[in-house]
Subunit: 249 residues, 2 copies
């Protein structure tokens, strides 16, 4: 895979607690920001319940459609942690004790503390590759292009550093934000013209409220800095003409 | 539809800014909490980019599979706001000026301020039903079971109250949370037994950190208060046996 290839990923958030509204997902934003920084574009996110059939089905759909899949949640010790068994079934692999993971947790816990509950966390798809967990011991794993991470945000975050060299990204996606003291409707037509002149650049427009004032952030995204700079000039041209203030944000 | 029927919904978050990690989605949690309160269970959430073909395809998949679909984002005045046109195409309806919406915005804005950019916001699928917006004027809309709301969280929130009587929910989904000063592995086996004895109740286990201490929240969810109480008793039984502290959270 050369650095010119576009590389994409899907994120699969597994957990009833997100679908019920009880827990606010923050892992999507963490993963997406990290993936962008290593040249992987997130094409889709799905949030699904802790139902084995659903997990298997979605993993098989997504792993065929995207270069990488990242799952979060469901790899702990309780009855509702069914990601590892579901991934085993999705790949038609045995679900069994992973010897290396067993050794890691045997060493991690004090003598006598590596109980039956904790031992559930070393059951994985056969020959899975471990993803080390510097926070709380229990590793994640990947099978082919499916990477399984925990749901607890601080633990997930701590595991990404060790994973970076296992993901082959494309060119990093660059972005530039221009924040303006205006409202979207004032710039909509001019911005449409810039987008039409630069069809392969992603231009987004996002209203914001800051210190009681309305504003709009325009975000320009591309793998090509030259194209970003070109859009930026075109935008600043109409911003100056319209005498719109550029603000820090 | 009687109050005994189970009613479900899917949420479709439309926006490149969520997929890039730039913006943290909070609308899922807002919508899911509100839907639960009126007896609608969220079965699935998808986050997708601002691409017309993708929006049309996903709307058509989801509206066939769920009782209700809620979309967020893409109904503003700029070039990247393509939800209304995409919904029109998904339903094979004309995309045209909605007279009632036009009147609302004509009255909302000061004379001369209802410019071409703002007028884009009254283009909708033919005969769409409006969803009033008490915050910033521009209405959302629904076509059949697809309800289209804005992406700005505060505006979205303000529109739900007016929508409640248009959604026919099932029995409200009740829940009870028991928070314990323990770790998941200590209770995993006992909790599995309770789940196996109560297969139609949803029991989730969620570790937390609070004031530097580890804990676990057990969440029991069902439409039937009796079943929740029954699970609660069974859980408190092993909690007492194991001398685990119950904590407020």
């Amino acid at each position: 895979m050369t650095k010119n290839t576009k590389v994409n990923a899907a994120i699969l958030i597994i957990g009833n607690e997100i679908l019920s509204g009880r827990t606010q997902d923050t892992n999507t934003s963490t993963l997406a920001t990290w993936l962008n920084s290593i040249g992987v574009k997130v094409g889709e996110v799905r949030i699904i319940p802790d139902i084995e059939k659903t997990i298997i089905e979605k993993i098989n759909i997504l792993r065929a459609a995207y270069d990488y899949i990242f799952t979060t949640g469901g790899i702990g010790p309780t009855h509702d942690d069914i990601t590892a068994e579901s991934v085993s079934k999705a790949f038609g692999l045995k679900y069994k004790i992973h010897k290396e993971a067993f050794k890691i947790l045997e060493t991690y816990y004090k003598p006598g503390e590596f109980n039956e509950g904790r031992q559930k966390m070393v059951w994985m798809p056969e020959n899975a590759n471990l993803i080390l967990n510097p926070t709380s011991g229990a590793p994640g794993f990947n099978v082919e292009n499916v990477f399984c991470l925990p749901g607890v945000p601080s633990i997930l975050k701590s595991m990404l550093g060790g994973l970076t060299n296992r993901i082959v990204g494309g060119k990093p996606i660059l972005s530039l934000t221009i924040s303006l003291r205006t409202v979207e409707s004032e710039i909509a037509n001019s911005l449409t013209k810039v987008q039409n002149d630069n069809k392969d650049v992603e231009i987004g427009s996002y209203p914001f409220f800051q210190a009681g004032k309305l504003g709009v952030s325009i975000v320009i995204r591309s793998e090509d800095q030259f194209k970003i700079d070109n859009c930026n000039s075109q935008i600043l041209e109409f911003v100056n003409e319209k005498k719109i203030e550029v603000v820090d944000r």
